[in-house]
Amino acid sequence: MADQREAMAQLFLERDVENFLYHEAELLDERRYEEWLDLLADDVRYWMPMRRNVKLGELEREFTREGQDVNWFDEGKDTLERRVQQILTGVHWAEEPLSRICHMISNVQLLAVTPSVLEPADVTVKSRFLIYRNRVETETDILVGKREDGLRRVDGHWKISRRKVVLDQSVLLSKNLTFFF
């Protein structure tokens, strides 16, 4: 019986987390940036390493290190808020006119739940993303990779406390990263 209760709770939690991630993507794609910021914990860490081509056996050097190396992103909420404010100035030429962006989120997997699926307070969730960006006339970028998020339960809602973005590119094929992953 207890097993079944736990299995149900697990299913419910998975759906709940998926829904949260879809909702988040919706806010971004609908350009509701300020509402999106509300989904981030105040102490959020947002990290996107760069990647190197290295030998088998030296794969620990594949990624630049959080908090130590130069990364594509390695920041907290303050900088993320400034990114949103910058877009909303209306003179941030790299996003003016605004890009058309679509986040496809899939392969959602719960990697860890604490303290338990019955009372989840923190979860680690991994997913895949495919971000399509089209802007001005024909300019188009497609970015594909993985995310690993820490979600935290705060007042009955999920907040993103940590996001690691692993882009499957070495030389970045896009001229800029003016959008959110």
Binding site: M50, N53, V70, N71, D74, R82, V91, S174
Partner: protein, 455 residues
């Protein structure tokens, strides 16, 4: 040498005297092919930093022009730069970005090269080659000249090019602003781990001219200035020296290098920057003080963006970095950006700078993003048949350059434009293209080393 008359570029497509430059030099595939040969095989190019290859066998794969090169340290501790292409059938011998290796073994047929470039392994040497192949003739192709300057590694394919220091000329003092420690000690900088690499859809000369001293494009950065990412919380930088000093644009006509700079008044201490945390602000306060003591009057000069001809950009102060604009066809540029910090700065200072650097520069940098949008669409809108008929205007400040510029007892090397009052000038940009045109027209370094012919 006075370049008289019209050659194809000097006085032709690049008419510096009139301040007009044809769009063809940015968008023509044919001119692009010519500049790979005439500019990129003859100039000195930035390859990397010694701190990236500290131990024998360490290598870092870099680029010169369109081509991949290997920067490595051999077993005798000597630094080399090789073309990353096998002598047998051209396979890229190293497809990793960095690492450590005793030999580079070609994945195609297995020729292997030692880290000093010598061909040391040839499969079936006795059987297939009957031991006749002269292996000493088939080492990796090495650059003609290499120079390590305060940790930075530079190379050229041209044996007749002047030495790197001669190529630099007096611009050396401005390069030092990026490479010396903040307190003025020689050298003393290292690169942070991770070289940013990304593609921009524009000709490489758009970013090169921007860093040469486009002091006119502040409006590009209005959004970041409104939002504020400067270390003290406002604007995009943290340089109060702007408010009290002279703002200069400095160039070297015979070399093609140029930079911005600020000169502080005599007796005036360098204003405090980086009031972000006690450790960080104290570090910079102490460094500025020691710098002024160590360098005397020259300590009044602080750096601003510059360009070492042809494709190395310097950001000597905020955020301190070196960028290379690798050409990737007439219509595309691959940027590589290295970030520098004082090697012996406290960890808190390095970490603070690292975070500031990446929110300022690079594809995710709130400042650089808007530059790239402008370069992208300036290039795209210049490709049309009609567009190409209309040259760009580079007329700001024509005829107002000053030789032997001096302010409050400090003479500034180079041809100087004081833009404190005029706000902006395009004389550094004209300087960049004047040199570019000379490279395109000249048939040899004898023609290019004009300074050697002075009486």
């Amino acid at each position: 040498m006075a370049i008289a008359g019209k050659r194809r570029y000097t006085g032709g497509l690049v008419d510096v005297a009139a301040g007009q430059i044809s769009r063809e030099i940015f968008v023509s595939d044919e001119i692009y092919a010519e500049e790979l040969e005439r500019v990129f095989t003859r100039a000195w190019l930035f390859v990397g930093h010694e701190s990236q290859i500290p131990k024998p066998g360490d290598y870092f794969v870099s680029g010169m022009g369109e081509e991949s090169v290997i920067l490595c340290r051999d077993r005798e501790d000597r630094v080399h730069v090789f073309l990353n292409s096998c002598r047998h059938r051209g396979m890229k011998v190293c497809r990793y970005d960095e690492g450590n290796t005793p030999v580079f073994t070609c994945p195609y047929h297995g020729w292997s090269y030692a880290t000093d470039g010598k061909l040391v392994g040839v499969p079936y040497f006795r059987e297939a080659y009957h031991s006749k192949l002269d292996r000493s003739q088939f080492g990796l192709v090495e650059v003609a000249q290499l120079e390590i300057y305060k940790g930075t590694v530079w190379a050229t394919w041209d044996p007749s090019a002047p030495s790197f220091l001669e190529y630099l000329g007096e611009f050396r003092r401005y390069l030092d602003l990026a490479l010396d420690a903040w307190d003025g000690r020689e050298g003393g900088t290292e690169v942070l781990g991770g070289v940013q690499k990304w593609l921009i859809p524009c000709n490489w000369k758009f970013p090169a001219e921007n860093f040469s001293g486009d002091s006119y494009h502040n409006i590009s950065h209005r959004s970041v200035d409104l939002v504020g990412i400067g270390p003290s919380g406002s604007g995009r930088r943290d340089m109060r020296e702007r408010l009290i000093g002279r703002r200069l644009q400095i160039c070297f006509p015979d070399r093609g290098h140029q930079t911005g700079a600020y000169v502080l008044p005599n007796e005036e201490p360098t204003p405090p920057a980086y009031q972000h945390s006690p450790v960080v602000s104290e570090y910079f306060r102490r460094c500025e003080e020691q710098r002024r003591e160590r360098l005397g009057a020259w300590g009044r000069v602080t750096g601003a963006p510059g360009e070492l001809f042809p494709n190395t950009a310097l950001h000597p102060r905020q955020p301190r970095s070196i960028a290379v604009w690798h050409p990737r066809g007439a219509h595309r540029t691959e940027v590589w950006r290295w970030y520098l910090v004082d090697a012996d700065a406290p960890p808190e200072v390095k970490d603070f700078l690292r975070q500031y650097y990446i929110r300022y520069s690079g594809p995710a940098g709130l400042t650089e993003q808007d530059d790239m949008e402008n370069w992208n669409y300036a290039h795209a809108a210049s490709r049309g048949t009609i567009a190409r008929r209309h040259p760009y205007s580079y007329e700001q400040g024509l005829g107002f350059e000053v030789e032997n510029y001096e302010w409050e007892g400090l003479r500034i090397p180079g041809t100087v434009m004081d833009v404190t009052d005029s706000k902006s000038s395009e004389h550094n940009l004209r300087n960049f293209y004047r040199r570019w045109a000379q490279f395109m027209d000249a048939n040899s370094w004898d023609e290019l080393a004009t300074w050697r012919r002075r009486p």
